[in-house]
């Protein structure tokens, strides 16, 4: 008994130590003075918030969606429209972005959840592409040309800053809040019921669990945080169009982040994003330029090879790979 208490304490100390070092590195990155690195990790946080919200439905409930970009795109548009046409501060706009994505997710749930398995995946993709087509043809919101914010002086009220540093901390903060809220949800009744449904929907029903209710909850919460992420995207890039904010590749990248990190864990999608996105960003900037001119798309080839290598070396996902090598397993994974 005393033995276990001691080892636990040792384990705890190690976890606290590792976490502190990681936290310090993350907070210190912008001070390294390299806007390129700061920018790539800011993007990683943005993807992490998307992957985390996406995994509530995928990892916990087993419904693989390729329609997450619709919620992100709606979020990006709502903040943009409110800033551009109604002079509303993005602090409020981002809240409305979340709300709009929530409503869209709630409306989409009923028809989408009539299908299961790969058909569900196809249905979500078709749904999101339909939303994109609507925006491509919607003249009032710029149609295919998109919307551009005029240049404004730096201000906290308009969330306008020159470098990526402040966005870095803003998006990191929003990711942390999202992670805390989602962690509470998955450890509670909702997360548990989602897992029961993932394992066996008939067993869930025989226990009195209404599968559609919990699937819809997962979809709506996922939509909420994806919409908020979309709002932050608008404040940083100040330009939205259907092809950049509603491209289905976005959903594929979110899924890649989740799979590389590990779907069956809470922190997996965050870690996956922190690995995949900076690598992708770096490869694109190095090989996408002069070399890309002669061999078009060579950066994608290299990126694909790196992904292959990661999957070969870490078939259990980045998180599973780390857990095997560090004695911290059972702490961040939900399989404890």
């Amino acid at each position: 008994m005393i033995e276990t208490v001691k080892t636990l304490a040792k384990k705890d100390r190690r976890i606290i130590g590792v976490s502190l070092v990681i936290a310090f590195i993350i907070l210190a990155i912008p001070f390294a003075g390299n806007p390129f690195i700061t920018h790539s990790f800011m993007l990683a946080f943005l993807y992490a918030s998307l992957a985390l919200s996406w995994n509530l439905l995928c990892g916990y409930c087993g419904f693989f969606s390729l329609g997450h970009h619709a919620y992100f795109g709606i979020g990006a548009y709502v903040t943009m429209i409110l800033m551009l046409f109604y002079d509303v501060t993005p602090w409020v706009g981002i809240i409305f972005s979340g709300l709009a994505a929530t409503i869209l997710a709630a409306a989409a749930s009923l028809p989408l959840f009539r299908s299961v398995g790969r058909w569900f995946t196809l249905a979500t993709l078709a749904f999101a592409e339909t939303i994109k087509l609507i925006f491509i043809n919607w003249d009032a919101v710029g149609a295919a040309k998109g919307l551009q914010l005029p240049v404004k002086p730096e201000s906290l009220y308009w969330l306008t800053f020159a470098g990526p540093e402040i966005y870095y901390y803003l998006i990191l903060g929003s990711l942390i809040i999202e992670a805390i809220i989602l962690h509470r949800i998955v450890r509670g009744k909702i997360g548990y019921c989602l897992q029961v449904i993932r394992e066996d929907e008939f067993t869930a029903m025989s226990a009195g669990i209404n599968p559609l209710k919990y699937k819809t909850i997962a979809m709506v919460i996922g939509g909420l945080f994806a919409g908020i992420a979309g709002g932050f995207y608008t404040t940083k890039y100040r330009f939205v169009d259907p092809f950049s904010t509603m491209d289905w590749i976005l959903s594929v990248e979110v899924a890649v982040c989740g799979i590389v990190g590990g779907l069956f864990s809470f922190a997996g999608p965050i870690l996956g994003s922190l690995v995949v996105i900076p690598v992708s960003f770096y490869v694109r900037s190095v090989f996408g330029g002069p070399l890309g001119g002669r061999f078009f798309g060579v950066h994608r080839l290299i990126y694909g090879c790196i992904l292959f290598a990661v999957m070969l070396i870490m078939p259990e996902g980045v998180l599973g790979w780390i857990e095997k090598r560090l004695p911290i397993s059972g702490r961040i994974s939900r399989e404890d």
Binding site: R187, G188, K189, Y192, C193, Q195, V196, E199, D200, F202, T203, A204, M205, S206, A207, G208, I209, N210, P211, E335
Partner: protein, 240 residues
Amino acid sequence: MSLLSINGLVKRFGGLVAVDGVSFNVGKGELVGLIGPNGAGKTTLFDLICQFLKTDKGTVIFKNKDITNKPPYLSAMMGIGRTFQIVRPLLNLTVLDNALAGAIVKAGGMEEARMKGLEALKLVGLNDKSSLKAGSLNIAEMKKLELARALASEPELLLLDEILAGLNPSEIDESLKLLNKIHESGVTIIIIEHVMRAIMKLSQRIIVLQEGRVIADGSPKEIANDKMVIKAYLGERYVL
């Protein structure tokens, strides 16, 4: 007033009539055995009572409410617990997480549900395996786990589908004791079983199905001497 009342239930699968106009009442506190040859429609009848299958004709009344063709989770919430003949464990979850599934909807939170799950595991004798993955259990333990999940929901009516199949004689005796205990605590039970020794000892009343129809309904003694039942199912004169 009967707890469960089934009136003229019909279920067709294409040209096959699996349940063909079945009617009976089950009063509160009864322990009813449901027997019959393979393919008689016993499990289909359970699926109709739990609303896992859509009824073609007839009604299922539970606690004076018509639950015919309502969603299955509603009948579960109203107090119908069931086990599956082909076990349906949540393989990647722990034994405790499997058991508490039954309790989660009515419980205030995870802690309360865990307590109820643990109680149910204790009752079926699986509490020492609560932290193992359900996938690591053997078939007899999985059947017990099915029962624990159903019990955790604190059902008023318990539908048990062949939970004794595959158990050895001493395990069967143990399970019979447990079922008697559950019954004495006030739970109404309908049990499908092929182990005649067990069902004759356990039941107060037995309903015999053949080709989707009720061919006999009476005490174990009456059933054992019924000519139609002997011809259709028991095969020879069954001696109690």
